[in-house]
């Protein structure tokens, strides 16, 4: 029974790790994976279906889009955008959220009240709406999207870091560090931070998945990554006009987005289970 369960858990973890690793590989080596130019238009070859379907051409494995651009190349380069957004957003929001959470949890009292209030206020702000407004006002670019999402998605990091810090703060080794005369910054950086990293790793996967979905939604609404960059959300938006006659144009980027986010979530879930059982042992 327990063996079956642990196999089941690891199965999810490994599948998730494989999906994320594979996407990362494709993103990094995009020019080698896709030999065609994702920006080159060929209006004489618009909406060619994937090569295994009727009317497909061998040189366009996943067909072409409404402007005759190679869909496989756009999909591969789109992986770059998604991974870049996911990782960069998690780094930005992670730094903000962990800093706030650790400070609140470590000092407690009034400082913690202020931090808790900041988290409450942030949660009340409608995420997509504000992100759209900011991108529209400042102008859409990859950097703006990352900065906006990074400044908005720190709440879960802060919540988890705060609670974890509160728990760690009272442990014996921190008391030992105090009595050894260690400074506050030393205790926070060397005693507390390393010991709250594992729950934060799980949060990081959740936020990465959320950031990738949000970027796609923003790009889909025309206020994310600017064209002609091949973002998966933007590909779906561009394909929307043709989807009733050529459903594959939205299936290809949509499924990719779905599988990647599912993989990240599987990885996070697997990590959580691994850490939970690790703690019991």
């Amino acid at each position: 029974m327990s063996r079956w369960r642990s196999w089941g858990r690891n199965w999810g973890l490994w599948l998730g790790a494989f999906i994320v690793g594979f996407t990362l590989f494709v993103a990094i080596f995009a020019p080698m994976v896709a030999t065609q130019d994702p920006f080159a238009q060929d209006l004489s070859r618009r909406l060619v279906p994937p090569s295994w379907m009727e009317g497909g051409r061998p040189q366009h494995f996943l067909g072409t889009d409404g402007l005759g651009r190679d869909y496989f190349a756009r999909l591969v380069y789109g992986a770059r955008i998604s991974m870049l957004i996911g990782i960069a957003t998690v780094v930005t929001s992670g730094i903000i959220g962990i800093a706030l959470g650790v400070v609140g949890g470590f000092f407690g009292g009034r400082i913690d009240d202020v931090i808790l209030f900041t988290i409450t206020a942030r949660l009340s702000i409608p995420l997509i709406l504000v992100a759209l407004a900011v991108v529209s006002l400042v102008g859409s670019s990859l950097t703006v999207v990352v900065a906006t999402l990074g400044l908005l998605l720190w709440d879960r990091f802060a919540v988890v870091a705060r609670v974890a810090t509160m728990q760690v703060r009272t442990l014996d080794y921190v008391a030992a560090a105090w009595s050894a005369g260690c400074s506050q910054p030393y205790i926070v950086m060397r005693e507390i931070l390393p010991n709250i990293l594992s729950p934060l790793a799980v949060v990081a996967t959740l936020e990465m998945a959320l950031a990738i979905l949000l970027e796609a939604a923003l790009s889909f609404l025309g206020l994310g990554v600017p064209p002609p960059l091949p973002s998966w959300g933007l590909m779906i938006a561009e394909a929307k006009d043709y989807m009733f006659f050529n459903p594959w144009v939205i299936m290809v980027p949509g499924m990719s987005l779905f599988v990647l986010v599912f993989g990240i979530n599987l990885l996070g879930d697997g990590l959580r289970d691994l850490l939970r059982t690790g703690r019991v042992a």
Binding site: F117, A121, P126, L129, I250, M251, L257, N265, L266
Partner: protein
């Protein structure tokens, strides 16, 4: 109880004031609002006229207090684009968004609660694993894409449901389902965790010892106690859903507040954007406040916190 109430109210009011400030600051991000309103092809004189007309030539602090003093009494000014009072615009469209949100919540609860309970009763068994996997799959679904896929399947190929618009109740089925997807995983996990906790509690053992039927134990004793955190999360999720409806309303061309927000963002209509941000934040705050109070009424232990 009174102290708890006062404290929660104070926090809610402070949150609303913070968002008020935030919504004002948000629209000043771009630098000169007058240039954005006048449009890209306007001359220097045009911009000057706009600046005077909208009072943007006044000091920022004056503008801020003017906006706050009007906003607290529900006056959000006139929309630059729709040439109408912002409050009228919003309240005309609010029913559609609220309907969508409630339909979404209804669907989410009717899927998440049974699945969560089943999952908890079969903890660790294959059924539980499969349900968790389904929740993960649902969580990974990009809502706008799911909307389009449903439109192709049920709207075009099967012809069961209308593709866009708001005429009948059928129009809310697909958008409501899509919106529900975002809330199902969280609701389900919480129901499951709550049920697992409740089923291992002492009063369940007592109930078992008394020889009560399993159905009675699960439904009357355990489910009632597992319901409390679910009520809070359901309120929070409804708030998130109303905020997230901007994407779904755009996909399905439902003319609610979300669609209005998207239109006003793309038309640089800042009074409307500010007002919608504020409105959604207030709704969210009220929902969480309501859930907290309800929980305090249900569970006296929480009042001390």
């Amino acid at each position: 109880m009174l102290q708890f109430l006062a404290r929660r109210l104070l926090v809610a009011v402070l949150v609303c004031l913070t968002v008020l400030t935030f919504a004002f600051a948000l629209t000043r991000l771009a630098g000169d609002l007058a240039i954005s309103i006048a449009g890209p092809n306007s001359t220097a004189e045009d911009i000057e006229v706009v600046r005077k007309a909208y009072g943007l030539d006044r000091p920022l602090v004056t503008q801020f207090f003017d906006w706050v003093s009007r906003a607290v009494v529900g006056d959000f000014g006139r929309s630059y684009f729709f040439r109408e009072k912002v409050s009228t615009l919003i309240f005309d469209r609010l029913p559609i968004t609220l309907t969508l949100g409630l339909v979404g919540l209804g669907i989410a609860l009717s899927v998440a609660l049974p699945l969560g309970v089943i999952s908890a009763l079969r903890e660790g068994r294959p059924v539980d694993r499969i349900i968790s996997l389904v929740a993960l799959l649902g969580q990974a679904m990009p809502s706008f894409w799911l909307g389009l896929v449903l439109m192709i399947t049920f709207g075009l190929h099967l012809g069961w449901l209308p593709i866009s618009g708001t005429g009948t109740w059928q129009h809310f089925v697909m958008p409501g389902t899509v919106l529900a997807f975002s809330a199902i995983p969280a609701l389900m996990r919480l129901t499951r965790a709550g049920m697992i906790d409740a089923m291992s509690a002492d009063y369940i053992r007592t109930a078992r010892a008394k020889g009560l039927s399993r159905t009675s134990i699960v439904l009357k004793h355990a489910a009632r106690n597992a319901a409390m955190p679910v009520v809070s999360i359901a309120a929070v999720q409804l708030g998130f859903m109303l905020g997230g409806s901007i994407v779904i309303e755009t996909v399905f061309a439902l003319h609610g507040v979300g669609f209005l927000a998207w239109e006003s963002i793309s038309k640089n209509d800042f009074p409307t954007v500010q007002a919608v941000v504020l409105l959604l934040a207030i709704i969210y705050t009220l929902l969480t406040l309501g859930a907290d109070l309800l929980n305090a009424v249900l569970d006296p232990r929480l009042r001390a916190a």
